[in-house]
Symmetry: C2
Subunit: 460 residues, 2 copies
Amino acid sequence: MKRITVYELYKKSSEYANKEINIAGWVRTARESKTFGFIELNDGSFFKNVQVVYENNLENFEEITKITISSSLRVTGILVLTPDAKQPFEIKATKVEIEGLSPVTYPLQKKGHTVEFLREYSYLRPRTNLFNAVFRVRSMAARAIHKYFQERRYVYVHSPLITANDGEGAGEMFQVTTLDLDKIAETGKVDYDKDFFGKHVGLTVTGQLEGEAFAMAYGNIYTFGPTFRAENSNTKTHASEFWMIEPEMAFCDLEELMDIEEDMLKYIVKYVLDNLPEEMEFLNKFVAPGLIEKLNKLITSTFTRIDHEEVIKILKEAKVDWEFPPEYGEDIAKEHEKYITEYFNGPVFIKNWPKDIKAFYMKQNPDNKTVAAVDLEVPGAGELMGGSQREESYEKLLNRMNELGMSTKGLEWYLDLRKYGTCVHSGFGMGFERLLIYLTGVENIRDVIPFPRTPKNCEF
Amino acid sequence: MKRITVYELYKKSSEYANKEINIAGWVRTARESKTFGFIELNDGSFFKNVQVVYENNLENFEEITKITISSSLRVTGILVLTPDAKQPFEIKATKVEIEGLSPVTYPLQKKGHTVEFLREYSYLRPRTNLFNAVFRVRSMAARAIHKYFQERRYVYVHSPLITANDGEGAGEMFQVTTLDLDKIAETGKVDYDKDFFGKHVGLTVTGQLEGEAFAMAYGNIYTFGPTFRAENSNTKTHASEFWMIEPEMAFCDLEELMDIEEDMLKYIVKYVLDNLPEEMEFLNKFVAPGLIEKLNKLITSTFTRIDHEEVIKILKEAKVDWEFPPEYGEDIAKEHEKYITEYFNGPVFIKNWPKDIKAFYMKQNPDNKTVAAVDLEVPGAGELMGGSQREESYEKLLNRMNELGMSTKGLEWYLDLRKYGTCVHSGFGMGFERLLIYLTGVENIRDVIPFPRTPKNCEF
């Protein structure tokens, strides 16, 4: 008999009613008396468990009464609908095979472990309700992103991970090498000619530059892959390895860019809400009360579009004792982000930023002071996306790189994109984990990455 | 007026007929006379170009007649159906704006460049028909893979890229570090306490081990992400950075594994054929004659399942003068792979391999000689997937690691998966680029990766 999943049982319970079925899964809870017992079994296909009822007519009844949490079972039984009970059906077992008996030393015996404790058990924590929900949301959000862009014919581009470019110019790259460090210590020589790529290379901080090259061929593209920062920050929002989505669109200006960002975000949020009601209800109930309301509000909200200069003006006029006083020409702090989304009661696109606090590749505005950059501030999430129109003029881009003292070495090709059929184009980056923190209500980036990497932490 | 894409023009040409429309794109070819001219424009949204016709009533007529290949244009005009012409419609331009004029030094002026030449221009090559088709296939195949697994409720897992584990035990990992190599040379000391993660770490060669942990929570999972090999091989099939798909399924044995592999492969091939007819026809015509026939044949073929031992017997009995004589207990060579797929006239699953030539985590068969591994050999592609049932016994896995002299350090958690509710489970890996070589007929892995990384080559 073919095994079916718990998900199928829930979706087609009337079809399977009173029939013999086969399932397999892991014990979530078990309780037993002298003549019968109950097992909550979960096979990972669905957020909910299925209740298995067994009686002492089973030949291995004694053995089953001793079943432990996290043990794996294969169960044959009759699906019985229980319209008056808490759960819609249960399985009356005709056969229970223990496939893998788990010892009582299983570390996650009891509920209510802290997330900090569970981080030590990254390989087991997706078995808990919390992390099971979070990583299913992660998978579903990824699905939504691919679906959104693919259905709109954006080409998915795998930008390179190992690179000699520091695309953000921030200098916080991991080095990648096959040189023998002990030998370097011994000989006192670093010979990059002998390194795998024959030069100093590192892990990418962005796929944008390569993405732009492909946008000049396909019009619309997106990347969705890992990026890295060797930043020695131990905060709730920093990880050394994280995933980014970086769409690039040719013949697209700043206004059109904001249209796309807004449309995409609403799509993703709606898709996750529609497709994972059980997980989202759990998160809403146990992790972040008000989560679903917050997300539903986003879907129907109007996104404000306002210049950075106007934002500073509003902040300056606010009767607030700022920790960091807002200033024209300067970046804004978390307290300002929060204020401004509350002020407009919804998401806010802050655009046309002072050029000196933004990256070299951003489109220089005619005022000579600002660039056509835009950050999206979302209530309860802070900055969720950062984008810009890209400078399409070869001369202006080169001048800006020179002004900043940047070397063009290795970036000639990027400049050349402005020679060979340059056009108005724009793109943005969204940190996938930042989106997940927003979607799940979980606070720490370590809890939305399967196996997080942070300073001094590279387990599993 | 809102810009529309060339793709939309093709899909809804009757809707747009005789209406004024706006498009933007790059010049593929141009020819002109004294009173009118033609431009083949491509905007990347579709494999086909659209023909723009302009006449000397345009005020910038002279300028347009000098237009160069790869220049970017915005065109307003009337869509006119041309049922008797080669192309189904053309645009009679009422306005042509030159957005980015490309110089005549544009490197890809002429058609017929070799792939070797074009590799030097990875940032421009997706503008050629060949690479445009290849990288659209890459995107579409990725879409098919996500769609296949997501629709079957597999959870997409982002396994870590930076890791201290050598998951295949092959020792060909890139090192990742923030230590200053020059300083190491100077001081003669390597202090891993001061490295970013406080220890020696590298780039992953597989996400399988972490994938297994998540399969024990979700039942079915898949990874789809980059993997790395610091292997100094300059061949047509080796890259230092490539993407892998690694599904893992709980309560799944070797036979069920083969069912999934076969079903998935047929799905992907069919999906790409169905959704990219223009690109596939181009590849069929200009790159690999017979490609579409080969792929269609795969979809309807029966996949043979046969033991490694039987394969060796067939090879030994063959009247062939082998370069590498086949031997029981040994690996098979490319010539054998080819022979065996021809022998069975279709794809062949070769299963139950000698344990000494396979990885430590594979399920040990009762014969004590073989493991429940399976390689899929496909006509015209060679080995496309490699998988196995995983050893679910803690003792057997530990013994095997000891036998092989492997350290369990850092892999205790992987062993512990066999303690805490272990179950029969299986998984496989498919190199994404190997699949793409098969799908596109392109021969060199460097030509299916946007920006390939190979020994001494890390440009862009």
